[in-house]
């Protein structure tokens, strides 16, 4: 069991972003979180990534307890693609990725191939803040390729990607699942690839209604 949440509540300024989530996610599974705007999808992913902390209830992710485990070691094993993923805006694409590779002790050679795969080779020396919205998303994917995490948390990955980007993303999902990693995606569009059989987690009012 990669994720286990029991009656998880996350409060922010007196407002319950999550209002009691019960959830179990198996290893190497693909999970799609859907729900209306404001239902709590982003909040759920942030909780799973150790980016927000649990207010009450119980939970563990990749074996780390959310209440008194080491959140940093959790974050290290998680990959995150958020609504705004821009990394260091003043560094170039390459510099950002080299920083990540070095930080994780990965070979720096991985960077070039990751950039190649997401199709940013012609922008490799462009400063990140100069990139277009979709290119920034692609950089986010390259970052994840360098990271190779156990649990992938992707917040609306399709947003602002073009067709080629979405195709690439679908391929990537397949590879990732085949490699034994777990994926949780939030999305408003159905997944495009028909080979994948995702589990649907529908969120309503800060809770998950498993279907």
């Amino acid at each position: 069991m990669v994720v286990r949440l029991v009656n998880a509540v996350v409060m922010s300024r007196g407002f319950p972003l999550l209002s009691g989530v019960d959830l179990e996610i198996e290893r190497a599974s693909l999970n799609v979180v859907t729900g209306a705007n404001g239902a709590g999808k982003t909040s759920l992913l942030r909780l799973l990534g150790g980016l927000d902390s649990l207010t009450s209830g119980e939970g563990s992710v990749v074996g780390v307890d959310l209440l008194d485990g080491d959140l940093r070691s959790l974050r290290r094993r998680v990959g995150w693609l958020g609504h705004e993923g821009s990394f260091y805006a003043d560094l170039s694409v390459r510099e950002n990725l080299v920083f990540a590779a070095r930080a994780l002790g990965r070979p720096v050679d991985d960077v070039a191939s990751a950039v190649e795969r997401v199709g940013l080779t012609h922008r490799i020396d462009t400063t990140t803040k100069q990139l277009s919205a979709g290119q920034r998303r692609r950089l986010g994917l390259a970052w994840l390729l360098v990271r190779r995490p156990e649990l992938w948390l992707l917040d609306e990955p399709y947003a602002s990607l073009d067709d080629a980007g979405r195709e690439f993303f679908d391929h990537l999902l397949g590879d990732v699942l085949a490699g034994g990693a777990t994926v949780v995606v939030s999305a408003h569009d159905p997944l495009r690839s028909s080979d994948l059989a995702p589990r649907n987690l529908q969120m309503v009012g800060g809770r998950v209604r498993v279907s």
Partner: protein, 219 residues
């Protein structure tokens, strides 16, 4: 830890070198602030050797605040924060790295401001040169403490204004110690007491930073 520290320090310095904010904005600001201090006190006060070191440190302090702010703002952009958090960098390394980069930047700024002080505030050159080691150590302490306090205030509403409130009381003793040792260098007098204060603070802040920076970063 040292590997991460080095990585973070070079990253910060590279961003700084790219944007040239230090060269084009912070340094001119410091020099102008020195000029203004001279102006604010009026011609009668300047050349008054008690005021010189104090003004130098006062201006250095304001410049330090600007630079701590910049150093923290780098980490605080909405996208950056989440992505970098998932790298799970060793917090002690991050702390040391950011402190190292800030120290270097402060040293450069401090030396330029020192030159400005000699010129505009008429501080004696020889005494000033003797004060350089104590000034560098004080700046190092400011950088280390500033990195810690910067992380403390990061992320709230308007960190740009919260930071000074939190740091100023902590910097007050350092400021006094630095000013005293500078004055002592100018007029002769016991130096070592001030060194003790500054070095103890440096060691204490470094230790606390290495141990507790992780606590600040979490959540």
């Amino acid at each position: 830890m040292t590997r991460i520290a080095w990585l973070v320090a070079t990253k910060d310095l590279r961003i700084e070198a790219r944007s040239r904010v230090l060269l084009w904005q912070v340094l001119p600001f410091g020099v102008i602030a020195l000029l203004l201090s001279g102006l604010a006190l009026g011609p009668t006060q300047v050349g008054n050797s008690t005021a010189g070191p104090g003004l130098f440190y006062l201006v250095t302090l304001f410049v330090t605040l600007l630079m701590i702010n910049r150093s923290q703002a780098l980490e605080n952009a909405p996208g950056t924060k989440a992505s970098v958090a998932t790298l799970g960098l060793d917090p002690a390394g991050v702390f040391l790295g950011k402190a190292l980069a800030l120290t270097l930047e402060l040293w450069i700024t401090g030396l330029v401001l020192l030159g400005g002080s000699v010129l505009f505030l008429h501080i004696a050159l020889i005494g000033t040169l003797q004060a350089v080691p104590s000034i560098l150590v004080t700046l190092t302490t400011l950088a280390v403490a500033g990195t810690l306090y910067g992380a403390l205030t990061r992320g709230g509403d308007g960190p740009a204004t919260l930071l000074p409130v939190v740091t100023l009381p902590a910097f007050a003793p350092l400021l006094i110690a630095g000013e005293r040792s500078f004055s002592a260098a100018l007029h002769g007098g016991a130096l070592w007491e001030w060194w003790v204060i500054v070095v103890v603070a440096l060691v204490a802040y470094t230790a606390v930073g290495i141990l507790l920076y992780g606590v600040l970063e979490e959540s």
